[in-house]
């Protein structure tokens, strides 16, 4: 159990670093290109590709982090109004099905990744393999699925309703 807790701590750290530096990387690329073009008159051929890479990484690696923090957007009108037993049941069923969908998507994402590996295609500007862009997608879905399973578990274990592992339902 201790091992898992340590692993989890590291995982959060890594997720945070990845999310944070993806955003900083986008800013550096866009700003750097403007300055380079305006000052030395030459654009960065790679700035669009690197930005696209960073956006993809942030989006898919963020699934799990947003799930941990309960920041995924949902329409909670019915959920909020439901009486406690139903809300409790939903708090278990929703993350369970969500995890199932994310795991399914991770399989598709892995297949897509493998198809890019097989094609050997490289990007136009940087000439790096395209599969690098798709690499984080299956990982993001798997981590996201695991996190939703934990959101489910916390609701099975605890009495109260948790919107996410780290976010109790206040109502």
């Amino acid at each position: 159990m201790n091992f898992i807790r340590t692993l989890d701590k590291w995982l959060v750290k890594i997720e945070e670093q990845i999310l944070s530096y993806s955003i900083i990387l986008i800013a550096i690329m866009v700003v750097g290109n403007v300055i380079s073009r305006a000052v030395i008159g030459s654009s960065w051929a790679f700035h669009q590709e690197v930005s696209r890479f960073a956006v993809t990484v942030a989006t898919f690696m963020g699934i799990s982090y947003a799930a941990r923090k309960g920041r995924h957007i949902s329409m909670s009108a019915f959920y909020d109004m439901a009486p406690f037993p139903i809300r409790k049941a939903l708090a278990i069923i929703i993350p369970a099905i969500t995890a199932l969908i994310l795991f399914t998507l991770s399989v598709f994402a892995y297949e897509y990744f493998m198809s890019l590996v097989a094609s050997g295609r490289v990007t136009t500007a940087m000439q790096v393999p395209v599969y690098l862009f798709a690499m984080f997608v299956p990982i993001g879905f798997v981590l996201g699925g695991i996190q939703f399973l934990r959101n489910m578990w916390v609701n099975i274990k605890e009495k109260e309703v948790y919107l996410a592992q780290e976010k109790k339902d206040y109502s």
Partner: protein, 422 residues
């Protein structure tokens, strides 16, 4: 197939699933059970495609800049400056918010970026002077709509490409009338709303006090000046302006005001990343969903059914309005315009609709759809950025929806509103 898809989506949506799940679950079920020849990995291809548009980069960058400025002093000083001049007027802050959204939207061309960049600081101020959060957010997401109508509008550029022989310049001019019409409606409403709810007025500032606040706001005022000037004088594109605003915010807060330190930057970026991911995963899901619908040629099937033979101009425009409105509830307006315009264009021309007028109706409905429940990227963005529940975000929208529907009817019925400047 359509029935299965809709049922899954509505049920999961109402139960309160994270919003990407209704779309992706419906897509997965449809692909597996109804479209055996489609390799489901293409859903992932399209999710990645959905977030790869360069223009979308403006969203995380403006969120980042706004996060930096609200951590530090910039946004407060800017708002103090605005308040010193309009705080004593009835509905002044609300009207200023609408105006700021309109102006900023015209620069960034993106409704989502406007929600973030103007919404973040203005919402705080609206709350502090006594507005309910729901009215503040509703004002912000709806005023950001106007962005798509004021040049340079990305929506119009895309329409011009999809519609043969339409001039982007003419569209830009034609958007001004409707844009101002909606702004006027919002301004009048803000005035009446402030009166009815008796929003307290701030004391009027003397010119001496105004001068003091202005001096304090000098550096922050460089922010809009650099953005507008930089785009106007062709130093950078609208998306690049979002990056420059990050740079300027960092220079102010790190070097000049010294309110944040280097190690704070990754922390702020983390919160930006969290919000970006929550919104972009929905943009991604929307693209996968729209790809499936396009592949199955559902828009064509539906339009053939509803348009019938020989529709009148008014009928075509109404149907166009409904289709774009619904489409943009789910998917990014740019994608919807690209997919649906060619489907309707020939019928509209046959019915004698002016192509510029059609473009304005389409752009307007696209903007409207992205701010309207249940799906709407602006709502998602507001929910993520302001960390408010979905319901809190949409609670205050009904008056705006009524106004926008009225505007939409006027714009459809009277093509002069769009064409009078041409």
């Amino acid at each position: 197939m359509i029935a299965t898809m809709l049922t899954i989506m509505i049920v999961l949506l109402l139960l309160g699933f994270p919003m990407m799940i209704p779309m992706m679950a419906a897509a997965i079920v449809v692909v597996i059970f109804f479209m055996p020849n489609i390799d489901p990995m293409f859903l992932v291809q399209q999710m990645m495609e959905g977030i790869s548009s360069y223009v979308l980069l403006a969203v995380p960058l403006f969120i980042f800049a706004a996060d930096i400025m609200s951590t530090g002093k910039t946004s407060k000083r800017l708002l103090d400056f605005v308040g010193a001049f309009i705080g004593h007027l009835r509905g002044g802050y609300a009207i200023t918010t609408a105006a700021a959204c309109t102006l900023f939207g015209s620069i960034s061309g993106s409704t989502q970026a406007t929600v973030v960049a103007i919404g973040t600081p203005m919402r705080k101020r609206l709350l502090s002077v006594g507005y309910k959060d729901s009215s503040a957010i509703a004002l912000i997401i709806n005023a950001s709509d106007i962005a798509l109508l004021i040049p340079p509008s990305i929506g119009m550029i895309i329409y011009a490409l999809a519609a043969p022989r339409v001039s982007v310049g003419d569209l830009f001019i034609a958007g001004i009338g409707p844009g101002l019409l909606i702004f006027a409606m919002f301004a009048i409403y803000s005035f009446i709303h402030a009166k009815i709810f008796n929003i307290p007025l701030a004391p009027k500032y003397s010119w001496k006090e105004r001068w003091k606040v202005t001096v304090k706001a000098l550096f922050p005022l460089g922010f809009p000046a650099i953005i507008v000037g930089g785009i106007y004088f062709g130093i950078f594109s609208p998306t690049e302006a979002a990056g420059i605003s990050v740079l300027y915010a960092l220079i102010l807060e790190l070097l000049i005001f010294r309110t944040i330190k280097i190690p704070d930057v990754p922390k702020i970026a983390l919160s930006t990343g969290l919000v970006t991911s929550a919104v972009f995963i929905l943009v991604a899901a929307g693209q996968a969903f729209s790809w499936l619908i396009s592949y199955a040629r559902i828009p064509q099937m539906l339009t053939e059914t509803v348009l019938g033979s020989d529709p009148t101009a008014l009928q075509v425009l109404l149907i166009v309005a409904i289709f774009f409105f619904i489409g943009c509830m789910f998917v990014d307006p740019i994608v919807v315009i690209l997919i649906l315009t060619p489907i309707f264009y020939p019928a509209a021309m046959a019915a004698g609709v002016d192509p510029i007028h059609l473009g304005i109706v389409i752009t307007f409905q696209a903007a409207l759809g992205s701010a309207t429940p249940p799906f709407g990227v602006d709502i998602f963005t507001a929910s993520a950025v302001f960390n408010k529940s979905y319901l809190d975000v949409i609670k205050g929208t009904p008056p705006y929806i009524v106004m926008l529907l009225i505007a939409s009817v006027l714009i459809i019925l009277f093509e002069e509103i769009s064409l009078f400047l041409l």
